[in-house]
Subunit: 317 residues, 4 copies
């Protein structure tokens, strides 16, 4: 990238023409790592140099975030996919796009590696990015006709067993049609975003980021239907839990985006539909970036490095 | 659909308002079974009583079919899913809908059981059906820049090993982005229609019949990426075969819809895109019939009945 | 079995010659079902008529069981596989064989259907049975070099996530050799007995009941090695948990035989070896009964019956 | 192995005490690669310096091999696992151990990397190795009671579809008990040696090299029992093929060790039992080497390197 024409690359050209530069920008560090904190300071400076009003918070839980978010045009966040998902629970309902700098392992959602910041962020703050809009889900948990909770889902909702290793029975309907009854560890409903997370481990398919669809996939199905179902975003999934014997021998739990859990009792119902909320990410990479990085990221793996091959067993004296 | 008629059921109501009755109807027996032949005669009679011009053929290969198809409004076919897929290769390019009477095992595509004919066919010939339009694929096979063949694909295309049990290496691109190189028995690209066929056995997801998407799934991947990819119908998949050592030690084959095979040589390329052809089926069941029958059909299984539990081994004298 | 010719059936012949009839017999009902209770009374009567001393308890937790077990030659138990596994934790260390009458779903371990009792139990009490001896495992849970617990394992031990849907990292050694580090929902070590339980759902292989081996299989591995490992009974598996972030965001749990759970902290170690305890079952069926019933039992499925196909969705008003 | 010598390592100590040095040694190049040929010359020299009589052949198909093999104590072979499997078909029936130098990808069976030859081969020729003895299978193919062929199987036998992508129906018995009927691409019976080959891709478990067992696993089962079965080496598997419709629409094939194929007709039977032949490998690594290298080898993968991430699609002009 030379001589003051940062946008003059094939990559940016592929990203489409520029847009109005963001006027109000949030910077959320996300990780208490020195290098992330330092980089956040640099990014805030770059933002201000590009004429943006910049606010900053150390973690998503900081009350500053809720105060400052309204009216924000873009939030730059430092962390891994988990940090971005946490942030998206706040930004997506307000329609604010996220741009992630990868300080985690996989980085399916992040757009930049830390070392790309000096070149890439000026590009971003000049408005040379496109918006990737991803579908989200709404999960309603009800008991005896009463709604106990309703959850925005960026990645996936899992209803299944808690601590005890026993199958849960889950009667399932798609669009009011009885599909089947699963005997399984759990049943997962994932967004396209979540298709590279738990869904992948459950054997489900990877969906393109902007597809209007969801995936239903059982976890450890015991002699039940195993294949994932891809459903149109207009579909509704109803799940009724059959948890016998009762706790403490057995228990069922709803877990949303790996961070919220709620106990599920026998007869409880979960209703999953598309949410009207879209989760937006600011991207500078070409539109088809997703399939170019998918497999190489996965094959690099989530444990880097593993232990050295000759690591002695901890059982050895 | 008028009041007081026996076919005035909720099911048909769910199928939406009627349409222009088919004026020219084909009847293709498909199976040389006496009961199918007899039922075809009955169906032709019902058609004529409803004022349709009816032509008939015993099998899809009958030259009569090619002569009579143009101008036909609907073809009723007797057989299993395989028979319907064969027929669809002829009807789909002409935009003619198919209605199948199940004489096969699964019957994912057929609309009627034989015993439903007396009640359901009058309904069909009165125009009380809706059209389910399914996406198809086009597979182009090329060598050194020359196109060797181009195949309409209703279910799936499989490129992979032939008779010898050795992995084939398949370099794969999605939308011009290098995805990965599979070492596998083969690579399958399936339509939503084909998602309940080989794709299911390969661990791929089931797609709703009318989704505009395709599935890419490896068959027996050897230490390669295992999960299926769902792709938008606008995507293009390019596959380049690496077949070493050369035949006869090794060989690769393209197999389309379980019926067409072509040898694939080292360096050959397969390009898969959505076809402009839609494969139409006439349906009288409610719009959401698919998920209501999916699992129960699958659990009934493809081998009915299996051998009795105490069947002595053929190895016994 | 009447008239002094107990061995005069193919089945019994296959079971080998008779043995000393059991002199002291326990009857454990296991299930608070009227029919089970009544049948237990009948069985106790049959036992006494065959000259056995019979003691009885309603559930395995009844203190009578611990008092009466020593010196018992055989326990007849009414329930499903879960009830038998519970009982085996008490009988196996004492070397007492179990005979199960199936009041559960699968009944992989039970020997009799309730309706077979009148004919089969006299056979059993006459000593016309053989002993199937199955391997068990010992799981030691340690922290900072201190043993926290040691568990006899009849089916399987699972170390993995608790309620929150987040992967646990599990460093794993086989025979002091570093195998790999799993990022997964959990890691399962199963006996041949447990190979038809959770292991099956995790994709593991089915082992013959009397094989001297164990199975190691990950649950929902995320980009980790997926295939199960079969290990010789002489092998030792060491697992070290890496649970970050700390609870409550994350938690790990050890679950043994679907009934015992213990919290696992970051750095905790699980060591799995063969136990010297053998779990014995009294069988009257031929030696090769296992593969004759395996698939048919599984295909009948664990939810019988599922809901009827047209069951309206609970979400419907 | 005495003190003060460079090869006096813990590794060799772990390999147990030495044995009688091999007096007659074969060297088979296997691969027509210059480096393999040169290394083979070096190895032959080392052998002669250790007092062995050495014969040499370029490929296993060389008639010299058959002439020289009888009376040979050890064969050193250069190549990958495929080359060793080919060789084992000749050496195993004569009880001659193989030592492989890896010129292939995986090298599960080879003992040495090329660069280890100068240090390791003197060790080998001094008799400091142990024998790993692996079970093999015998597959008998019969039609109408006539045996058509009988095959020694080092890795696996696959009976299944040929070129056309259609499921084959395979009725299967274990020890004369009817197991189930598979509708699948094929059915694989693998040895422990073969458990890291096709079996792995089919989802089967990895068995320790010296276990006396076999694995039965379906390939692409269509709504059939999916899990692998581990069977004792004393078991017998009978498979009867049901191939309808007849070829050319459909065909079935037996493929043994990825190199031998025979057409299978409707009604043909395959009988798989343990063979009395053991396949021996000379090893200098510790007894528990297998699990130390298993996962790291697999994760390095069979395609090294894949294409670079930005490789343009061949479809691009």
């Amino acid at each position: 990238m030379q001589s003051g024409q940062p946008e003059d690359t094939g990559q940016v050209a592929a990203a489409g023409a520029g847009r109005e530069p963001p006027r109000r920008v949030g910077v959320v560090v996300g990780r208490s790592r020195t290098d992330a904190v330092e980089l956040a300071t640099k990014v805030a400076d770059i933002g201000r140099r590009h004429g943006a009003e910049v606010w900053r918070a150390d973690v998503w839980e900081d009350p500053v975030v809720q105060d400052e978010l309204p009216g924000t045009d873009l939030v730059v966040c430092f962390g891994g996919d988990g940090t971005l998902i946490s942030g998206a629970h706040l930004t997506a309902p307000l329609g604010i796009p996220l741009a992630g700098v990868n300080f985690g392992k996989m980085g399916f959602l992040t757009e930049f590696q830390p070392e790309e910041v000096p070149v890439a962020l000026p590009q971003l703050f000049s408005g040379h990015y496109w918006l990737e809009e991803r579908a989200t889900l709404s999960v309603r948990h009800s008991r005896d006709g009463q709604t106990l909770g309703e959850y925005l889902t960026i990645n996936e909702a899992l209803v299944g067993r808690g601590r005890v290793n026993r199958v849960v029975r889950l009667h399932t309907w798609v669009d009011d049609q009885y599909l089947t009854s699963y005997a399984a560890d759990g049943l997962l409903v994932a967004t396209p975003t979540g298709s590279t997370a738990s869904n992948l481990a459950a054997g489900g398919p990877v969906l393109p980021p902007e597809m209007n669809a969801m995936v239903l996939v059982p976890v450890m199905p015991f002699v039940s239907f195993r294949n994932a179902l891809v459903l149109d975003a207009s579909s509704r999934v109803d799940i009724q839990a059959d948890v016998t014997p009762a706790p403490p021998l057995h228990e069922a739990v709803l877990s949303v985006d790996g961070g919220i859990t709620a106990p599920v009792e026998d007869g409880d119902r979960l209703t999953v539909t598309a949410s009207s909320v879209r989760c937006a990410f600011a991207r500078v990479r070409p539109r088809h970036y997703f399939h170019a990085m998918l497999v190489s990221k996965l094959q690099r793996g989530p444990i880097l490095p593993p232990l050295p091959v000759n690591t002695p067993s901890p059982a050895r004296p």
